[in-house]
Amino acid sequence: MSGTADEGGDADLPATDPEFLRMRARTYDLLSACLDGDAGALVEAAENGYFVQLSAVFPVDIDPELLAEYDEEALEVGYDNLFAVPGPHYVPPFASAHAADAPRSDDATANYESDSAYHAGDDGELLGEPAAEFAELYDAVDFEPTRGDGIPDHVAAAFEFLGALAQAEADRRKAGNIEEAEALADLQRRTLDRLGWLDEFHERVREADSAEGAFARIVGVARTFAAWDARSGIGAAEAESPDDQRDATSNPDNSPNPDP
C-alpha cells in the first residue's frame, strides 16, 4: 500500500493525503459549478487548460480545440436547453430520472401511476427515491446544497457535497482528527455509490448535446473523474486504512510502516 510519508519518492501519495484531498475538493467544486450552469467558472477553467489536461489522462473523447474557447452566453443558453427547460434537448440532471426502475414512455407494460406531486412526464420522478437517499446523506452532516436548484440528487448538488466532504476531510486529517476524517471518507464513498446513473446520464447528454458538445465533454470528465476517484482515489483509502483503527490481521495491505 502507499501509506508512506515519503513525499519525495516514486511511491504514490496516500489516498488520505491532505493535499490530495484538497485537490479532489477543488475539482469536485469546479465540476459542480460547471454542472450548475456557472458558465464563468467553466470558461475560466477551460481557458486555463484544466479540462484538456484532465482529459489527457482520463479516457474522455475531448477535442482540445473545443475546450479552449467558449462564449459564456452561448453556454448559458446551452445549459438551460439541456438541463433546465424541458424540451427536445432536455436531459434531467438528477438521479431520480435515471433510476434503474424509472418507467419510460416506451415501456408499454408500465401502467405507471405516480405517488409524487412532482411527477415529470415520462422521465421518471422528480424527487423520487434517489432524492430521498441523497437528502439522507446530506442530513448526516447537516449539509444544505447551494447548487442544483433545490434538487437533492442533482449532479451539481452531489458534486458540491463531495467537494465539501473532501475539504472537511482534508482539514480533519491535518488536525489529526482521524476518527471524523474516516467517517467523512466513508460518507464520500457512500455518495459515490449513488452516482452509477452518471453513465446513462453521460450517454444521453452526448446524444442531446451533439452540436455544441461542451456539456457532453464536461459530463464526460465528471463521470470518469468520479469513477477514478471511487476506485483509485477515495475508494482506495478504504482498503489502505492508514490508521490503526482496523484489526491489522484483517487488512491484506497492512503496511509495516503505517502512517505516522
Binding site: Y28, A33, F58, E113, E160, R189, W228
Partner: protein, 1097 residues
C-alpha cells in the same frame, strides 16, 4: 461508474487508471484555481452525529437461504396484541434437548396487521415464494428498504425466543414439599398428578375433585325449593335430596357445588371456559383477567351503544383529527406493529392528533397538543367539552334527530342515537318509554316495544320507527305520565357545571377544553376518539368512559370513513363445519357467580340472611362476573360461598402482580382451609403459581394451539391461528389436554368419544388439543368463500416444516384424522398462512402483481375495496348510540342500595363504603400529596416477558417519574435513590426527573418487582436453583434514567411492584378499590410521598 466494488464501471478508463496516480492528479489539479463562487471551503459541516463506529452497520451481506419448510406461521403471545408471526426454525437443533431451536421470529407477511404501512401478500401466494422473498411485488431490502418476505415485529415479540427457551421453565409436574409457598418441590409423574387432583391426597391433606364436585339442574332444584316455600315439600327432605349437589341447601340460589371449583385463566376461553368448565363441569366460575384490566372501559362503551361495541378506535387512514385519550397506541393497545405505522403515516399526511394523558407518553410526544389531565377527572374534561360543543351548536343536530334505523338510512347515516327517545322519569328505575307503555299502540301490536319520540312534523308522540325526524328537547306529560327525552336529560346533566368548573376539576385551562372541543367538531365525521385504560382504571372509571363515548354521539362519527370504527370482522371459528361450542348432554351452569356480576344483591337469598344493605363485599349487578380482583377476598370471606378448588393458568393472570393490592393475595393462597386444593398450570414458577399444591408444566405460546382475537381496529376481516411450532419442554402439556384427562376420570361430558357434533350431526371424539383446534381451523377455512386447497407441494412443505419444528411430537396421521379427509387440504392452506386474512380488494393478486406491496389498494380501487362502502366503512356498528342507558339504573350499589346513574356523571373516586379516595367534584385533600399512576412499559409485554434479558437490558428497572417542581421541592435529582411512602407500605426506587409528567403526579411502569419466575430461589427434588442475577452483554454501568444507551439486565426481581403500593379498600382491607358499575380494579388512585434516600446514591 457506479459502486466501488463494481468492476463493470467505466471500462474505458481501466487502463488509464492503472497509470494515472494520485500524485499525477495533484500535479494537474494544482493548476486549477478555486472556483470564484466556490462553496466547499466555506461549508461548515456538522460531524457530531456522523457515524464513527469502526465497522459499517449498513445492509448486511451475510445471509442464509431458507425456504417455507423452515417456517411455521403462528401468533405471538408476548403481549395481548397477538401479532401474526413467522417462526424461522433453526437449521441445527442444538443439544437435541429441544425438537428444534428457533433462528428468528418475524412478522407474518400474509397478515395486514404486520405489514403496515404496506399491503400484505395475496392470500393465495405460494408459501415457498413468500418465504424466499421471490414473490413478484414483495420488494427487496437493498432496493426498497423493505421486503415482505419478513413482516414487522416489535422487540418484545423478537424476545419470545427467550420466553420459550427460558432455563427456568417448569419441566415436570411438581408437587409442593412443606407448606404452600415454601419454595420446595418434588417432581411427580403426570399419572400421579392427575390421580391426586381427582382423588385427593393424604400427604398434603387435600380433597379431590371427585369429592368436591356436585351438580343438579336448576329447574329441578328450584321447583323443589318452590315446593318447600309453599309448604308442599319438607325442608329436611329437600336437604337430603340435594345436599350432595348444592353449595348450601339453605341458599339453593347459590347454585351447585361445581361453582366452588374455580378456573382462572386468560386464554383458550372457547375451549376451557365455554366447553370444559361451563358445560363439562357445570361451573359458572371460569374467570379471565378483565377486572385487572380495562373492563370498566369496555362496559362504559357497552352501555353507550345498542349494538356490540366494546372499544373506541378510529379509521386512522382517513381521520383528520384524532383525540387519543388515556391510551398509548404507539406502544400498547394492539398498537406497536399495527397502529404505530398507521398513526405516524396519518400524521405525515396531515392528521392532527392530540393526546389526553397525565404523562407525556410516546404517543403524546408526537401529538400537536398534550393535555395532562388530572388522573380520574376525565369525565370532567369530557363534560366540559360537551358543554362547549352544545353551547355553540357544534353538534350534528340532523344526526341526533334521526330516531331510528330507517330514518338514519334515509339520511345516509349508518347509526342513529337515542337522543329523541323518551324516558319515563317518574317510573321505578326510569326506563325508556315503549309505545305500549304510553298507550300509543296496544300491547300486542308490532310497535309495542318500540321507543317513543315526538314527531318533528306533527309534534305528537309516535313510535320511533314512524318519524322521519323527531324533537330533541322534550319534557311533557303523556297519559298522565311525565316523559323527557334522553337529550334533555343529558343536556341538563352536562349543564350542571360551567366549562370553567369542569376545567378546574380536570386540572386543565378552560381554553384547552375549548381548543380540543373546537378541533373535535371542525372535521365533520372525520374526527374520532381512541380511548382505553387511562380514564377507566379508577373506581369512577365507568362514568369517565361513558362521558367520553357520548362526545362521539354528538358528531355521529360511527361507521364513517375517517370516523369511529367498530369492525368485529373475522371468520367463523366455533361453528360451521363443526359445532365446537356444543356439548352433547352437557351441563348448564347456574347460581350466583363467585364474583357477583350480573346480579343485584337484593335479589338473592343472602340479602335476607345478612340483613340487607350493606352487602359484605361488593356486587357488580350491571357488569359481567369478571372482577377478578375479588377472587381471593371472596375465598377468604367465603362470600358468597367458599372456594374449594382453584385452577390457575397464570400466563395472563398473574394476579399477585396484576391486582391492585395483589400483595395481600398470598395470605389467602397459603391458607389451605380457605382454598383446600390449588393447582396451577404454568410455564415457570410464577409469583402466583408458587403458592400452589401442584404446578403443571404448560407449553409457551410457541408450543401450543390458540385462536387469539383481533380488536375492532382494522378495516378488514381476519382470524389468527396459533399452532405448535417447537417443543421445548417435552413433558409440558397444554392445560386443556390435562383437563380432558381429568374430565374423563370423572366421567364429565364434553370430552372423549362422541363429544363434538359436526354440521351433519355426526359426533367426533375429543382426546387432544388437535381434535379441537384442527376442527376450528376447518371452520375458518370454510367460512364465506372457502379457501383454496393446498397443492401437493404445499402439503409437502407443511409436513417438512412441522417435522422440522416438532420432531417426534408431530404425528401427521393423527392431525389428519381430526377432520374429514376432504377438509384437510383447506386446513393446511390456513395453517401454512397462520390464519385467514382478508385482502384489501377483490382480485387482489392481479393488482398486487401490478403495483407491489407499496400501494394503498383499499383507497384506490373504489368499488373493489373490501374496506369501504362509499364514504362508510364496510364493517359497521350499524346500531343505536345511547346517551341514556336504561340498563345501568337497574343495578343498585350493594353498599347503599342506591341505583346507578343512567347518564354520564362526574364523580369522585370512592371506596366501597363511599369514603373519598380522590376528589373530583368534592374538595377533600388527599392523604398524601402525590398521585401515583402507572403504565405499560414500552419494552415489556407484561410480567410474563420479564424473564427476557434482552428486554431487561433496555430498561433495567422502573424509575419513578417526577416533575422537576415536585423533585426540587424534595431535593431530588434525576437518578437519586428514593423512598415511596404509600402509607401502608414504603418501597425503594430510583427517581427520573422529567417535565413529561403533570406536576403533582408521579408514575412508573408496571411489571417490575417480581417474586416469581426466577426472581427468587426454588428448590426442586432437593436441588436449589438460585435466583437470576444480572445478565448482559455490555461492560457499561447500570444506566441512569433517560440515558439508557446500553446496560446490564438486572435480576428478575428488579424495580418495585406498582400494585403493591396501591391503597386497600377502606371497608374490605384485603384488595384495592373497585368500580362498582364497570367492575375494574382501580390502579391509578394511590397517593404517595417521596423522599430522597440517604445521599441519594
Amino acid at each position: 461508474m457506479s459502486s466501488t466494488d463494481d468492476p463493470d464501471i467505466d471500462t474505458e478508463s481501466a487502463d488509464a487508471d492503472a497509470s494515472f496516480t494520485r500524485r499525477d492528479f495533484v500535479k494537474i489539479a494544482g493548476g486549477v484555481g478555486a472556483v470564484a463562487a466556490g462553496s466547499t471551503a466555506s461549508v461548515n459541516l456538522d460531524t457530531t452525529d456522523l457515524w464513527t463506529d469502526k465497522e459499517q452497520h449498513y445492509v448486511g451481506t451475510d445471509f442464509g437461504d431458507y425456504g417455507a419448510e423452515d417456517v411455521i406461521h403462528t401468533t405471538c403471545g408476548q403481549c395481548n396484541t397477538f401479532c401474526p408471526i413467522k417462526v424461522r426454525l433453526a437449521d441445527e437443533s442444538g443439544t437435541g434437548r429441544y425438537s428444534s431451536l428457533v433462528r428468528k421470529l418475524a412478522g407474518n407477511p400474509y397478515s395486514f396487521l404486520n405489514t403496515q404501512p404496506f399491503s400484505q401478500v395475496p392470500y393465495d401466494s405460494d408459501p415457498q415464494q413468500v418465504a424466499t422473498g421471490d414473490l413478484e411485488g414483495t420488494g427487496d431490502v437493498a432496493g426498497d428498504r423493505w421486503s415482505l418476505s419478513g413482516a414487522r415485529m416489535c422487540l418484545k415479540g423478537q424476545a419470545g425466543i427467550q420466553t420459550a427457551f427460558d432455563a427456568y421453565r417448569v419441566r415436570k409436574p411438581m408437587k409442593r414439599v412443606g407448606p404452600r409457598g415454601s419454595g420446595e418441590w418434588k417432581t411427580i409423574s403426570w399419572e400421579q398428578a392427575i390421580a391426586e387432583i381427582v382423588e385427593g391426597n393424604e400427604e398434603l391433606g387435600h380433597p379431590g375433585l371427585r369429592e368436591l364436585w356436585g351438580y343438579a339442574p336448576k329447574e329441578k332444584v328450584m321447583s323443589d325449593w318452590e315446593a318447600v316455600q309453599n309448604g308442599e315439600m319438607d325442608k329436611e327432605k329437600f336437604d337430603r335430596k340435594w345436599e350432595d349437589a348444592l353449595i348450601d341447601t339453605d341458599h339453593p340460589d347459590l347454585g351447585p357445588k361445581a361453582n366452588q371449583i374455580v378456573d382462572v385463566g386468560g386464554f383458550r376461553r372457547n375451549f376451557i371456559r365455554a366447553r370444559l368448565w361451563k358445560q363439562g363441569l357445570g361451573s359458572l366460575n371460569s374467570v379471565h383477567h378483565a377486572g385487572t384490566c380495562g373492563i370498566s372501559s369496555v362496559m362504559g362503551n357497552v352501555r353507550s351503544f345498542g349494538g356490540k361495541k366494546k372499544r373506541q378506535y378510529a379509521d386512522i387512514e382517513n381521520c383528520e383529527y384524532l383525540l387519543v385519550w388515556g391510551t398509548n397506541p404507539l406502544v400498547a393497545n394492539k398498537g406497536p406493529t399495527w397502529l404505530a405505522p398507521k398513526l405516524t403515516n396519518a400524521m405525515e399526511d396531515g392528521m392532527r392528533m392530540d393526546v389526553v394523558d397525565p404523562r407525556l407518553s410516546k404517543t403524546a410526544e408526537k401529538a400537536q397538543q398534550w393535555v395532562p389531565v388530572e388522573p380520574g377527572a376525565d369525565a370532567a374534561l369530557a363534560m366540559g367539552m360537551a358543554r362547549w360543543i352544545i353551547e355553540r351548536d357544534r353538534h350534528d343536530v340532523d344526526y341526533l334527530r334521526n330516531p331510528s334505523k330507517s330514518a338514519a338510512s334515509a339520511d345516509d347515516e349508518p347509526t342513529w342515537s337515542d337522543a329523541t327517545h323518551l324516558v319515563r322519569v317518574d317510573a321505578e328505575a326510569q326506563p325508556k318509554a315503549r309505545s305500549s307503555d304510553l298507550g300509543l299502540v296496544t300491547g300486542d301490536a308490532d310497535a309495542a316495544d318500540e321507543f317513543v319520540v315526538v314527531d318533528a312534523e306533527t309534534g305528537e308522540p309516535v313510535p320511533a320507527g314512524d318519524a322521519d325526524a323527531a324533537v330533541l328537547d322534550v319534557d311533557l306529560t303523556v297519559g298522565g305520565e311525565r316523559v323527557r327525552s334522553a337529550w334533555s336529560l343529558y343536556r341538563e346533566r352536562v349543564f350542571e357545571h360551567t366549562v370553567s368548573e369542569y376545567a378546574d376539576m380536570a386540572g386543565v385551562a378552560p381554553e384547552t377544553i375549548a381548543e380540543v372541543a373546537d378541533e373535535f367538531t371542525s372535521h365533520g365525521k372525520r374526527a374520532a376518539i381512541m380511548s382505553y385504560r387511562g380514564p377507566a382504571k379508577h373506581a369512577n372509571g365507568f362514568q369517565n368512559q361513558r362521558a367520553i363515548a357520548t362526545l362521539q354521539h354528538l358528531v355521529g362519527n360511527y361507521d364513517w370513513k375517517g370516523g369511529q370504527m367498530t369492525p368485529y370482522a373475522g371468520f367463523a371459528t366455533m361453528s360451521g363445519r363443526y359445532e365446537l361450542g356444543e356439548v352433547p348432554d352437557g351441563h348448564s351452569p347456574w347460581g350466583v357467580p363467585l364474583l357477583r356480576g350480573g346480579v343485584n344483591y337484593e335479589e338473592t337469598s343472602l340479602f335476607e340472611r345478612d340483613d340487607g344493605y350493606p352487602a359484605e363485599r361488593p356486587w357488580f349487578p350491571v357488569a359481567p362476573p369478571y372482577a377478578a380482583q375479588e377472587i381471593y377476598g371472596s375465598a377468604k370471606d367465603e362470600y358468597p360461598y367458599s372456594v374449594e378448588a382453584l385452577f390457575l393458568r397464570p400466563y395472563s393472570n398473574n394476579h399477585v402482580m396484576a391486582v391492585a393490592g395483589g400483595d395481600k393475595i398470598p395470605e389467602v393462597l397459603k391458607d389451605t382451609e380457605k382454598i383446600p386444593l390449588f393447582v396451577a398450570s404454568d410455564t415457570v414458577v410464577g409469583d402466583t403459581s408458587k403458592y400452589a399444591d401442584y404446578i403443571l408444566p404448560e407449553p409457551t405460546y410457541l408450543e401450543r394451539w390458540e385462536n387469539f382475537g383481533t380488536y375492532p381496529n382494522k378495516r378488514l376481516a381476519d382470524e389468527k391461528i396459533s399452532q405448535p411450532s417447537v417443543k421445548v419442554v417435552p413433558d409440558a402439556r397444554p392445560f386443556e389436554e390435562v383437563l380432558i384427562d381429568i374430565w374423563k376420570e370423572m366421567d364429565l361430558p364434553g370430552v372423549g368419544e362422541d363429544a363434538i357434533p359436526d354440521a351433519d350431526g355426526n359426533l367426533w371424539s375429543l382426546d387432544s388439543s388437535e381434535d379441537f383446534y384442527l376442527k376450528l381451523v376447518a371452520n375458518i377455512a370454510y367460512d364465506r368463500e372457502p379457501v383454496a386447497d393446498a397443492s401437493d407441494s404445499e402439503l409437502d412443505t407443511f409436513r417438512k416444516a412441522h417435522e422440522k419444528g416438532l420432531g417426534k411430537h408431530f404425528d401427521l396421521k393423527e392431525w389428519k384424522s381430526a377432520v374429514e379427509p376432504e377438509e384437510w387440504r383447506k386446513v393446511v392452506t390456513v395453517l401454512n398462512r397462520g390464519g385467514r386474512f382478508e385482502e384489501p380488494i377483490e382480485n387482489y393478486d392481479e393488482a398486487f402483481a401490478e403495483h407491489g406491496h407499496d400501494y394503498d389498494y383499499a383507497e384506490r380501487y373504489g368499488d373493489r375495496s373490501n374496506a369501504y362502502d362509499g364514504d362508510h366503512l364496510r364493517y359497521k356498528l350499524g346500531a343505536r348510540a345511547d346517551f341514556y342507558s336504561e340498563v345501568v339504573p337497574k343495578g343498585k350499589h350493594s353498599y347503599t342500595g342506591e341505583r346507578f346513574d343512567p347518564l354520564p356523571k362526574v364523580e369522585d373516586v370512592r371506596h366501597y363504603d363511599g369514603s373519598v379516595q380522590a376528589e373530583v367534584v368534592s374538595d377533600e385533600d388527599p392523604e398524601r400529596p402525590l398521585r401515583l399512576v402507572n403504565w405499560k412499559p414500552r419494552t415489556q409485554g407484561a410480567t410474563r416477558t420479564q424473564n427476557s434479558p434482552w428486554l431487561r437490558e433496555t430498561r433495567p428497572e422502573n424509575p419513578l417519574w417526577m416533575n422537576p417542581e415536585d423533585a426540587d421541592e424534595r431535593g431530588i435529582e434525576n437518578g437519586d435513590r428514593i423512598e415511596i411512602d404509600a402509607g401502608r407500605r414504603t418501597v425503594e426506587a430510583v427517581a427520573m426527573v422529567t417535565s413529561g409528567i403533570r406536576p403533582g403526579v408521579v408514575g412508573a411502569m408496571w411489571g417490575w418487582g417480581r417474586e416469581g419466575d426466577g426472581a427468587v430461589a426454588e428448590t426442586i427434588d432437593g436441588k436449589t436453583r438460585e435466583a437470576v442475577e444480572r445478565d448482559g452483554h455490555t461492560p457499561y454501568e447500570f444506566d441512569e434514567p433517560m440515558r439508557e444507551e446500553a446496560a446490564y439486565a438486572k435480576g428478575r426481581d428488579a424495580g418495585f411492584a406498582i400494585n403493591h403500593v396501591q391503597p386497600l379498600d377502606s371497608e374490605l382491607g384485603d384488595v384495592g378499590l373497585s368500580d362498582p358499575v364497570g367492575g375494574s380494579n382501580a390502579q391509578y388512585d394511590a397517593f404517595v410521598d417521596v423522599t430522597k434516600r440517604g445521599e441519594g446514591e
